[in-house]
């Protein structure tokens, strides 16, 4: 089976600082994979290397068996690589519906049309509404994004990426900033995502990680510390040491 995403000795240095250290990583098709690690471990950097926002110093990124290291961000998106952001990156002054429609419009090649009325493309609205209903926020479709509570904005963040029909989805802390009592809502949303999308999630909320992921990779100081099932990771002494310090301390 071809891997959804694979990195081979992927490294990134900022001057003398190594933020990604020879990372070998495999994301299987349809996977529910979590990437955890202490603050500053280089998790978001790793995502940025995968999406092409950052250029690696060395190493390769492959998607569906195809080398994509030299492709820019928007080309990778067109191949089916979607992402969300740790800190909301939305179109605040636009409606929820338009937030979703922008990506769909680009994917369908509608965005290039200069002389036709945008409102004539009703398929855009339908598809956007479908995604919003899937995530349970269809009622807010015509609200301006900036007027939504933060938890719902997090869902819009996910909805935008779903509009890209991704084959691989990278979720950068989907529950970041959401009060823990509402993180259940995020998990619900993650649960309904199509099963054929391979998902890699960065998250600090361990409850969420253990409920969501069937495989976990631990990243420390830019390097992979260990990888395994949630059970294995939960009982790995190295992981405890990283998160909680030496047992005697």
């Amino acid at each position: 089976m071809t891997l959804a995403l694979e990195t081979i000795r992927l490294s990134k240095q900022f001057g003398a600082l190594t933020v990604a250290d020879q990372i070998d990583f495999k994301l299987e098709a349809g996977a529910r994979h979590a990437l955890i690690g202490p603050n500053g471990a280089g998790k978001t950097t790793f995502i940025n290397l995968l999406t092409g926002r950052l250029t690696p110093s060395s190493g390769q990124v492959k998607m569906m068996g195809q080398e994509i290291s030299s492709l820019n961000e928007s080309k990778r998106v067109k191949m089916g690589l979607g992402r969300t952001f740790q800190i909301n990156s939305l179109f605040n002054k636009m409606t929820v519906l338009d937030n979703i429609s922008l990506g769909i419009s680009e994917r369908l090649g509608i965005s290039k049309k200069m002389w036709r009325n945008a409102s004539a493309f009703t398929a855009l609205k339908e598809e956007s509404l479908e995604i919003l209903s899937l995530l349970g926020i269809a009622d807010d479709a015509n609200e301006r994004v900036s007027q939504l509570p933060y938890g719902k904005q997090r869902l819009v963040e996910i909805a935008i990426s779903l509009g890209l029909k991704p084959k691989v989805l990278l979720l950068d802390e989907p529950a970041a900033g959401v009060p823990s009592m509402e993180s259940g809502r995020i998990l619900q949303a993650l649960d309904v995502l199509p099963k054929d999308i391979a998902i890699l999630m960065i998250e600090h909320d361990m409850d969420l990680v253990f409920q969501f992921a069937s495989k976990i990779t631990v990243l420390v100081q830019g390097a992979v510390l260990c990888e395994g099932t949630p059970d294995e990771i939960a009982h790995d002494p190295r992981v405890h040491q990283v998160y909680l310090g030496e047992p005697n301390e």
């Binding site: 999406t51 179109f91 409606t95 290039k112 002389w115 945008a118």
Partner: protein, 324 residues
């Protein structure tokens, strides 16, 4: 605050959108002595409209847009005075082509950069164009300006007359065409994508939008419109001077657009009208201090009326609705 155009916006023409055209025609009949100023205002509206497209909708702030305005004017002027082409439509077309090419080539450079770097590059390009116009005296006339511009009758029928009647209607007609095109564009998926780029460039890249290529198209179109506006002013005045190119007119047009309101099409109509009428009035009353009046006006708008003169109207309607 005005609502952004979105995929669900109704593109039908509102009655209020006819006001500028009715007023413009009224001026033609009622104020025949002001048609020279009127034609001037119409060309600056076209110029401001081109700036609104790239700054108000696509979010590219430029301090060098008069590079296109000036090059458009000089292209028209030189082709007439030195080459002997006098057909006004053909001259507009040539200016459009030259400015389109200049737009693509400079856009390729400046649109790769961001923020201050971008602003400085736009300024540098305008300064370069200014220096070329200033130094190449044999072709451009340098600081003395380009004289000998002769413009033939429009479509071979309508001569440019002493009272500027023809020029006024000619400018109005061209403005109408480009207003229609810009409005069309703003309500198209392409236009909404531009708005998305203005709102959040990073996210647009992350949803697969090749941002630079979209901006380049918009920038080129904007350059073409500015070039046509420049050519119109060359035809109206039958003279081209350094005051049309470089930093000063670039800053001025930005001031006019901000005065009227950015990113709303009609701000580009109101701004030049207010600015040039005030300039005309103040220059007659206080020939030494007229700049002060313009400065105060801008100060008031920036401090108290974000969104320009049209922004004030927005606030009034919102207030009236909420008090009902």
């Amino acid at each position: 605050m005005s609502k952004l155009v979105g995929f669900q916006s109704n593109p039908r023409l509102k009655i209020s959108e006819l006001i500028p055209w009715v007023l413009a025609l009224a001026v033609f009949f009622v104020l025949p002595d002001y048609l020279s100023l009127g034609a001037q205002i119409l060309t600056y509206i076209l110029f401001a409209l081109s700036l609104d497209l790239i700054t108000g909708y696509a979010g590219v702030v430029t301090l060098g847009h008069a590079a296109f305005f000036g090059v458009g004017a000089y292209t028209c002027g030189i082709l007439s005075a030195k080459v002997g082409i006098t057909d006004p439509l053909l001259l507009l077309l040539m200016s459009a082509i030259v400015c389109g090419l200049l737009g693509i080539s400079t856009g390729l450079i400046i649109l790769r950069t961001q923020k201050l770097t971008q602003l400085m590059l736009t300024l540098a390009i305008a300064a370069l164009c200014f220096e070329v116009a200033n130094k190449a005296t044999t072709i451009t006339g340098g600081a003395d300006g380009l004289t000998g511009v002769v413009i033939g009758p429009i479509f071979g029928l309508f001569k440019f007359d002493f009272l500027n009647k023809t020029a006024y209607l000619w400018c109005l007609g061209i403005l109408f065409i480009f207003w229609y095109l810009v409005r069309r564009l703003v309500y198209s998926p392409f236009g909404i994508t531009l708005t998305g780029i203005k709102e959040n460039k990073q996210r647009m890249q992350a949803i697969g939008v090749p941002v630079t290529s979209y901006l380049l198209k918009a920038y080129t179109f904007s350059a073409i419109i500015a070039g046509v506006a420049g050519a119109l002013i060359a035809q109206t005045n039958q003279f081209v001077g350094l005051n049309l190119i470089g930093f000063e007119p670039s800053g001025e047009i930005l001031v006019m657009l901000i005065l009227g309101g950015v990113g709303r099409i009609y701000g580009a109509f109101v701004g030049p009208l207010v600015f040039l009428v005030a300039q005309d009035f103040l220059a007659k009353q206080f020939p030494e201090y007229w700049n002060l009046g313009i400065g105060l006006m801008l100060l008031i708008v920036v401090l108290f009326a974000k969104g320009g003169v049209l922004g004030i109207f927005d606030k009034v309607t919102v207030f009236r609705r909420s008090s009902k």
